[in-house]
Symmetry: C2
Subunit: 416 residues, 2 copies
C-alpha cells in the first residue's frame, strides 16, 4: 500500500536544507526592518469570516479558504443558502486586513505612529501552477498613524536596505499615485462610474499591450488612446525638472497631484525609483502613492504596496492613515545571493554497536555542553561512504565511539 503521499495540493513541505535557507533569508529581512525601527507583531492565521469578507481584500477575498463553523448539523446544511454561511472563520489571504483589525483591537496599546513588521504565511486557493502556491510567505512592513510622505520614504528606505542586504541590488520600485490615476481618468474624459473598470484594463498593459488596452477600453466606450496619451504626458511631466510651456495633452491638468510622487522621486532612499503612471495595483483601498517592486530579469513583481488611509478606519471607527509594502517572499527567495554561511562545527559520532546507549548519550551531552553541534550515528561497515554522506548533510568533524570511550578519550578528526 505504498501509495503516493503528498502535502495538500498547491502546498509545500520544506526539508531541512530548504528550511534553513528560507529562515536565513527571513532573518536578514527581519534584521533590516528592525534596524529601521519596525517591530514585529503576530496575529492568528484565521480571522472572523465577516472581517475577511468586508470588501477590503479585492479579488483575493474570493480566494480565501473558509473554515467551517463547529457543531454544524445536517439541518444546518439543508437550511444554508450559500456554502459560505457555514463558515465563521477563514484563512487570511493577506497580512493587511489582519493588520487593520489588529490596530483596531490594540490602538490604545500602540504608539501614535506604529511601524509594524509581519512575516507570516497567507493562503489563497489559486489554481496551482509553477511558482504559485496556496500557502506562501509574505513579509510586510506598515506605518500607521503618519499622514505625511515621511512614512513612504521610511518604507522605501527599509525595503531598499532589505533588498541590498539580500544581495539584490538590481531591484527597483515602480511608483505611482492613485490620485494621479483618477486625475488622469478625469482629464481624459472617462466618466467617474467607469474609473475602476478603466483601471482594471490599464493594469493589463504588461500583458495585452497598448493596442489591447485601447481596444478593451473602446469596448466600454472609453477613448483609450486619449487616456494613454494623458498618462504618457504625465510621465514626462513628473520627471521634467520644470513643467514645459506647451503641456500638450495635459493642458488644464492640475499638476499639484504630482507633488507627492515628485517628492519621492527626488529623495535618495537607497533603491532606484521609477515613475510609472500606468501602474495601477489591484487593490481598491489604496488612496495615495502605490509601489511595485520589480527586477530587470523578472517578468513579475516581487512585492508592492501603497497608502491606504481609509482602511483601518473601517475596523477602528475612526480614520487612521497607513501605508505599507509587502515583499513576495517566495519569488524573492530564488533571487537571493547571500554569501556562504560560516559553517558551524558539527561533530558526527560514529557509535559502535557494542557501546551502551547511555554511554554514547553521555558523550554526546558532554560535547554539546562544550558548545558543539553533535549528530549520533551508528557506525556502519562502509565508513568512507558514511563520512561522505555525513559531510553532505553538514557534518565537519567525526569521531569513533568504542566501548569504554569517554569524551576525553575521543579523537575528533575533520571530515576531509
Amino acid at each position: 500500500m505504498a501509495t503516493q503521499v503528498n502535502p495538500p495540493r498547491g502546498m509545500r513541505d520544506f526539508l531541512p536544507v530548504d528550511k534553513r535557507a528560507r529562515e536565513r533569508v527571513l532573518r536578514v529581512i527581519r534584521a533590516a526592518y528592525e534596524h529601521h525601527g519596525f517591530e514585529e507583531i503576530e496575529t492568528p492565521v484565521v480571522e472572523d469570516a465577516a472581517r475577511l469578507h468586508a470588501g477590503l481584500g479585492g479579488d483575493n477575498e474570493k480566494l480565501a479558504f473558509a473554515v467551517m463553523r463547529r457543531g454544524l448539523t445536517v439541518d444546518d446544511l439543508r437550511a444554508a443558502e450559500a456554502p459560505l454561511e457555514l463558515a465563521d472563520l477563514g484563512l487570511r489571504f493577506d497580512l493587511t486586513v489582519p493588520l487593520a483589525r489588529f490596530i483596531a483591537t490594540h490602538r490604545s496599546n500602540l504608539p501614535p505612529v506604529f511601524r509594524a513588521i509581519q512575516i507570516a504565511p497567507v493562503w489563497r486557493a489559486e489554481r496551482p501552477q509553477r511558482g504559485r502556491y496556496r500557502q506562501f510567505m509574505q513579509c510586510d512592513i506598515d506605518i500607521a498613524g503618519e499622514p505625511g510622505i515621511t512614512a513612504e520614504l521610511e518604507l522605501l528606505a527599509a525595503t531598499g536596505d532589505a533588498l541590498t542586504r539580500l544581495g539584490i541590488p538590481d531591484a527597483f520600485i515602480r511608483i505611482n499615485d492613485r490620485r494621479i490615476l483618477f486625475a488622469a481618468l478625469e482629464h481624459a474624459g472617462v466618466a467617474a462610474e467607469q474609473h475602476e473598470r478603466a483601471l482594471i484594463t490599464v493594469d493589463k498593459l504588461d500583458k495585452i499591450g497598448r493596442e489591447g488596452v485601447t481596444e478593451e477600453l473602446a469596448g466600454r466606450g472609453i477613448d483609450g488612446a486619449r487616456l494613454l496619451a494623458t498618462l504618457d504626458a504625465i510621465s514626462d511631466l513628473a520627471s521634467a525638472a520644470a513643467p514645459p510651456d506647451d503641456r500638450g495633452p495635459l493642458a488644464g491638468f492640475d499638476t499639484a497631484v504630482l507633488e507627492p510622487v515628485r517628492e519621492l522621486l527626488a529623495a535618495e532612499v537607497g533603491i532606484r525609483l521609477e515613475f510609472d503612471p500606468t501602474l495601477v495595483r489591484g487593490m481598491g483601498y489604496y488612496t495615495g502613492p502605490i509601489f511595485e517592486i520589480a527586477h530587470p530579469e523578472l517578468p513579475f513583481s516581487i512585492g508592492g504596496g501603497g497608502r491606504y488611509d481609509g482602511m483601518i478606519g473601517r475596523f477602528l471607527g475612526q480614520e487612521l492613515p497607513a501605508v505599507g509594502i509587502s515583499l513576495g517572499f517566495e519569488r524573492l527567495v530564488d533571487l537571493v545571493e547571500l554569501p556562504a554561511e560560516a559553517v558551524a562545527e558539527t561533530v558526527a559520532l560514529l557509535v559502535d554497536k557494542a557501546v551502551e546507549p547511555a554511554d554514547a548519550v553521555a558523550i554526546k551531552r558532554a560535547l554539546v555542553a562544550a558548545g558543539q553541534t553533535v549528530r549520533m550515528q551508528r557506525r556502519t561497515k562502509n565508513v568512507t561512504g558514511l563520512l561522505a554522506q555525513l559531510a553532505a548533510s553538514g557534518a565537519t568533524h567525526f569521531a569513533f565511539v568504542r566501548p569504554g570511550d569517554t569524551v576525553d578519550s575521543l579523537e575528533l578528526k575533520p571530515i576531509a
Copy 2:
C-alpha cells in the same frame, strides 16, 4: 461605530513586546535542539482531511477545524450527509500526524535516522478557557528510524538541555511504558477488550483519586484495587536495585517488560526522570516508553511524548520506528526565566516639523548604515514625556533633528 474588534474567539494577537519575548524563547529551544543534531522542517498548516482523520489523533481529531472544499454549490450542501463531507482539508491539531505524512512523502530524501525539529502552531477547537487557546505553538522533536533506546535517551537529553537553557531546572519527566501498562492490565486480570477503557480511567488518577478510579473501574466490572496494587508493586520493583524475593502482587509477572524503563532511569540525561506506572498519555498510537514533562509548581504537564513505532507505517506503507517529545510552548513560556537581554542601542530621532522628510530619512539611513537601530519620531512640545515614552518602548539614545542637520551634526545623547 467604534465597536469591540477582537481576534477570533480563543485566539490571540501578539504585540511587539510579547512577540519579542516569545521569539527569544523559541530561539533558545531551537538552538538547544540543533546542538543535539536535530534539523528543522516545515509542513503546511493544513493536511488533507482524510489524513487528519485517519484515527491517529485520538480525541484531538474531533477538535480539528475543517476547511471547506472550494467550489461547493448549494446542491452539494443538500446532498451531504454530514458536515465533514464538505471539507477536504483541516488545520492540523498536532505536529505528529503531519510529521508522519512528511516522512512518508520524503523518505528517500531523508537520512536513515532522521532527527526532526518542528516549531509551529497547531489548532484545536477547545472550549476557550484560561490558559487554553485555539491556536497555540508546539515545539516537537522526533527521531524516526531508530528502534533502540538510544533514541529515547537522545530526546530526553535534548529536552533536558532545552529546559535548562530556559532556566527551568526544576522540571522533571515522568516516564512509563505502554508495554508495562498492558502487562499490568493482563496481570491484574483485566480482559483484553477492556484494556483501552481501563487506561482511560487510570489516566484520571490525578483528577479523581484512587477511590474515584476504583469506583469507575468497578462500574465496568474491573477489579480496580487489584490493578492499582499491581501498578504500585511495579513502581517499587522498577526502582529497586534488585527484584525482592517476595514479589507479592507481582508473583508470576514477567519483569522483562521493565527493562527499557530501567535502562532509561539508570542513564544520566540532564533532567530528573521519575517512573510513574500510572502514567497513560491519551494517544492510542504509543507503543513503548511514554513521557510527560512536569514541574513541581504546576498542576498540568508542560509537554509529553513517547514511542509510536506503528504510526508512520500507516502513511508510508512500511514500518518505521519513531519516538518524539513535544513541548507545550504556551505553558512553558510563562515559566521561563532568561537573563535580561543585552539592549541593542536604539536611537530615537526627534524630528522638527520644519525638517524636509527626505532630509530626515537621509539621516536615518546613514545611522542604520552605521549599524544603529533607528526610530523616527516627530518632535512634540513635551520632550520629557516623549523621552519617557521612547525609553519605555526600548529607545536608549536620542537626537534632535533640526533643519540643516546632517548625520554629522547630530548630537546623540543617552536617554537618562
